[in-house]
């Protein structure tokens, strides 16, 4: 289990992570959401032992991660670049990682290579971007670590390849209770693959819950009232977004469907529709609530 307590990472005066508290249970598919510069990559680098935290603690099963070989052997990190593998062939890359990860499985490696039909003896810099991604995901899975950290791992993959990579990950999760942490701007991917997600903003955790509860806790409301209410009139509800168009009032509000219905009934709506949001919509409205929106650009 990954346990982060009061985690701080600073780059000069800028706090990329500012007191992160997070638990990731084993076997979870964990999504990391957040705007650019929210601290997702920094968090993954701390989890993989690349960065050393400036404050707080980052532990896996109670042990510090940084400079701890025993813990690092259980973690594999795939970042958003592939240039570092360019001079290797896939076979050389396998030999390289095999020496470092004691549980490396040739069987899994061969099986996955056969599935995606990647050439073993060609240099990786001759691969397409998608092939490079596949190659490193295959390596990551073959290392058989307990934790696989993916930073923008689906970038550059075509839809078919995305499905193949996702299937590889899901199989590994099912086979050996692999914990996957995915950082991505592609919320569809997170939605499909993860069961838990955390939203980071300016180095802090905005929320961290399982996806069902996230989705069940934020709703889009379309209602028509006899009176024209303002946003302030809904002070008993946590409203992330308020908009009125003619007689229809649109609200994005936090809370369960029943709870919201009860509170809105007091205002005697003529029409009331409560619709669940997609993860992408939740992300956008949550970020808007935090002052991170595209309104300024529109204007």
């Amino acid at each position: 289990m990954i346990e982060l307590r009061g985690l701080v990472k600073k780059f000069d005066d800028f706090a990329a992570l500012d007191g992160i508290d997070l638990d990731v249970p084993d076997g979870t598919a964990f999504g990391l959401l957040g705007s650019n510069g929210a601290g997702k990559s920094s968090l993954l680098r701390i989890l993989s032992g690349v960065y050393k935290q400036d404050g707080g603690s980052a532990k896996i099963d109670g042990e510090d991660i940084f400079d701890n070989v025993a813990v690092k052997e259980r973690v594999f990190f795939i970042n958003d670049e592939t240039i570092q593998y360019s001079k290797f062939t896939l076979e050389e890359l396998k030999d390289f990682y095999k020496g470092f990860y004691p549980k490396f499985s040739e069987e899994i490696f061969n099986k996955l290579c056969n599935t995606v039909k990647l050439p073993l003896k060609k240099r990786i810099d001759t691969f397409s971007k998608g092939m490079k991604r596949q190659a490193i995901v295959i390596i990551g899975l073959s290392c058989q670590t307990d934790y696989l950290l993916l930073d923008e791992a689906f970038d550059g993959l075509d839809p078919t390849m995305r499905i193949i990579v996702k299937r590889m990950l899901v199989d590994a999760m099912l086979d050996r209770s692999l914990t996957v942490i995915i950082s991505s701007h592609n919320l569809k991917e997170i939605n499909e693959l993860c069961d838990t997600a955390a939203l980071l903003h300016r180095g802090k955790v905005v929320f961290c819950r399982d996806l069902d509860s996230i989705k069940g806790n934020i709703h889009k409301i379309q209602a028509a009232f006899a009176i024209d209410y303002n946003k302030e009139d809904f002070s008993d509800i946590e409203v992330l977004h308020f908009e009125r168009s003619a007689s229809i009032t649109y609200l994005i509000a936090k809370g369960g469907e029943e709870e919201l219905k009860e509170k809105l009934k007091e205002k005697k709506p003529l029409v009331l529709d409560i619709i669940p949001l997609t993860l992408e919509e939740i992300f956008i409205y949550e970020m808007e609530g935090l002052g991170y929106d595209c309104q300024g650009i529109d204007k």
Binding site: R45, V50, V69, F77
Partner: protein, 677 residues
């Protein structure tokens, strides 16, 4: 985590790095083989041909190839360090490298050893090949020498030296790379550091300190340069090759060099461990390193410019250092961001450099120039002063600890400093090179410290120093030196007698029997200590003959009363001046007018002769002596060691100058005017 797993990851990393550089190793091996092994092989061929045909010539091209290939192979240390530690300046490699299950310490040592192996293994292989060829050569030839150079001992020294020089170059490169975070800085500063260490020390020692009167760090600087950098050590080796004789190389420099190598390694390790992964892509991880380099460059340029004078060079100094400094700043800051800060930093740096240089100059190196110890604080004094008659080798320092000698040295030193202060205050120029003789003085103080000064003495200072000749300690050393010189030369020449009396014309000599040597040396030492000071510079007594003990030549005259008595006692014949007719009327026996033989020192004319000094006046300025009674008489008055500011004639005998004392000037003038030129 088991120790086995830790070791395994260490070796996995090591193996990967070595494996990926196999091609580099092959290239290095070829380069190394082109150096010592190729030359040894060719020496074997050369000696075989020499043996067979009596003589052969060695193709010097092989040496040239060897030197070029060695330079390339040694320089490869920088590239290997850059390659092995590439994740320290390539951002794309950071995640891949640092996320591997290996500790920071393991990674450092594993990478360090891998690089060292890639770099040094081909060298070691070539050394083994060289040793095999050396064994073959020494078994084939009874005299396994290249001309006079002993091959085996020099080869072994060369192998050890090469290993340590390469190791330091590699470690210094790692040190620089550890301080840098981007490609450009890593490459350029790894190279710059290698050059800047010896350069800064050289500028500091030779120019900055050397500019201070009497302070000469030159003898101490070369060993420092040699011990602190690979390039310095290589320079030292080339210097050894030029002046080393048959034992080209020595390893005296190695212990401090090895200690420095360990210190550089420790510094690289500490800085590596303190580095953070996120600092990659910053030009400098440790800004202090950058400012040290930049300040050193500014200091070097500044010192060179201010060598002559501040007044005329201040503006060019500011312009050039500003261009260099700000160029570095623009490159490092990747543009003109906060350029005013760069300008301020430059102003502070140049003000510090100029300020320190000016302060040094104005305060005479914070009083170092005028520092004279009190006699009671000195435990001993060392000097290369060879005695008035040059008994001691001038390259060899003599140590004196009796108070009389120490006081004499301090007296001479005080005279030098007083004159310096007077001339400095009056604004007259100090030209240390137009003085009489150089002397180095080292005071070993009772508190355990020591300091040295080197002066070019003027006459008035030199006379004060000559009172050393009268001390009992000097007398004892003089006696020992004469005995040792006699013993050494006798052994070298396999002759029992190597003690001669010789006249100035080299026409007659007397060999002194060795059984009188000790007694003779006692008499001479006694005479030297008794000669009145007034007789040092301008002896009133006629020169009789040279007493020659090996290379020591003592001009005897009647002041050597004990010596002359001894000759009489043992019936040792003083060689007569045999003036045969064929000596005359040629340039090896000629007279120069006062005008043509004067020597200008500090704006004043002098006429002097010193032993073992040769002069070759211009043709036409000399009068050839004719075989006349006057000329014969004049020769008997010629002095081989004489110093005066009174104009007088000089006699040249086989290039050696003899002064005709002023009291015989009228006789000399008569001969000069009547002689043919």
């Amino acid at each position: 985590m088991t120790a086995k797993a830790l070791t395994s990851n260490f070796f996995t990393n090591f193996k990967y790095k070595v494996k990926s550089s196999l091609r580099v190793m092959v290239v290095l091996l070829v380069l190394h083989i082109c150096a010592a092994p190729l030359n040894l092989f060719n020496i074997i061929i050369f000696l075989s041909k020499s043996k067979k045909y009596g003589s052969a010539s060695y193709n010097q091209l092989y040496f040239a190839i060897g030197i070029i290939s060695t330079c390339i192979a040694v320089g490869a240390g920088l590239i290997i360090a850059l390659n092995v530690f590439n994740y320290l300046y390539k951002k794309s490699l950071v995640d891949m490298t640092l996320s591997l299950p290996i500790t920071t310490r393991q990674r450092f040592f594993s990478d360090f050893l891998a690089g060292a192996f890639i770099y040094l293994a081909p060298y070691i292989v070539s050394c083994v090949i060289s040793l095999i060829l050396n064994a073959i050569g020494s078994s084939l030839f009874a005299k396994w020498n290249y001309y006079d150079v002993k091959i085996t001992s020099n080869l072994l020294t060369l192998i050890v030296s090469g290993f340590f020089i390469m190791l330091m170059l590699y470690i210094l490169s790692i040190l620089a790379i550890t301080c840098c975070g981007s490609v450009f800085e890593a490459i350029s500063y790894a190279g710059l550091l290698q050059i800047l260490i010896p350069s800064t020390i050289a500028v500091f020692g030779y120019i900055f300190m050397g500019n201070l009167y009497g302070i000469n760090l030159s003898p101490k600087i070369m060993p420092v340069i040699r011990a602190t950098s690979s390039i310095g050590a290589l320079m030292g080796m080339f210097s050894d090759m030029q002046y080393g004789g048959n034992t080209l190389f020595n390893l005296k420099w190695l212990p401090p060099f090895a200690i420095l190598t360990v210190i550089y390694f420790a510094a690289a390790y500490v800085l590596y461990m303190k580095r953070k992964a996120e600092q990659v892509s910053k030009p400098f991880v440790y800004k202090l390193f950058y400012y040290i380099i930049l300040t050193s460059i500014t200091f070097c340029i500044g010192t060179i410019f201010t060598l002559e004078s501040f007044d005329s060079n201040l503006i060019p100094l500011i312009i050039i250092t500003a261009i260099v400094y700000l160029l570095f700043e623009v490159i490092t800051n990747r543009g003109f961001k906060k350029f005013y800060m760069s300008a301020i930093r430059y102003a502070v740096t140049i003000a510090a450099v100029v300020g320190i240089t000016l302060l040094f100059e104005q305060t005479d190196g914070f009083g170092a120039v005028t520092k004279i110890p009190s006699a009671d604080s000195v435990a001993s004094v060392e000097t290369d002063y060879g005695g008035f008659f040059g008994i001691f080798d001038n390259d060899k320092m003599q140590t004196y600890s009796d108070s009389q000698t120490i006081e004499s040295v301090i007296k001479a030193h005080t005279s030098v400093i007083q004159r310096y202060k007077k001339e400095k205050n009056s604004g007259s120029s100090l030209d240390p090179y137009s003085n009489l003789s150089n002397v180095q003085i080292t005071y070993n103080l009772k508190n355990g410290s020591s300091f040295s000064r080197t002066y070019s003495l003027r006459l008035e200072d030199a006379i004060l120093l000559k009172s050393i000749d009268k001390t009992p300690e000097f007398k004892e050393k003089c006696l020992q030196t004469l005995k040792n010189a006699y013993k050494t030369y006798s052994e070298m020449s396999n002759q029992k007698e190597f003690l001669y009396l010789n006249n100035s014309l080299h026409t007659n000599s007397t060999q002194v029997n060795s059984k009188y040597a000790d007694e003779l040396f006692e008499a001479i030492a006694e005479d030297i200590s008794q000669i009145p000071e007034s007789e040092y510079l301008a002896p009133s007594k006629d020169f009789i003959a040279f007493l020659e003990v090996g290379s020591i030549r003592i001009p005897l005259n009647e002041n050597f009363s004990n010596t002359l008595l001894l000759f009489k006692k043992y019936n040792i014949k003083i060689p007569a001046l045999d003036m045969t007719a064929d000596l005359f009327n040629n340039k090896d026996f000629s007279l120069a007018s006062p005008e043509n033989s004067k020597v200008n020192l500090n704006g004043k004319n002098y006429w002097y002769s010193t032993i073992n000094s040769y002069f070759y006046p211009e043709e036409g300025s000399m009068a050839y002596l004719e075989n006349t009674p006057e000329a014969r008489e004049l020769i008997t008055h010629a002095q081989p060691s004489f110093f005066t500011d009174e104009p007088c004639y000089s006699l040249y005998i086989y290039g050696e100058r003899y002064i005709i004392p002023p009291k015989y000037s009228s006789l000399a003038e008569k001969i000069y005017n009547s002689a043919g030129q």
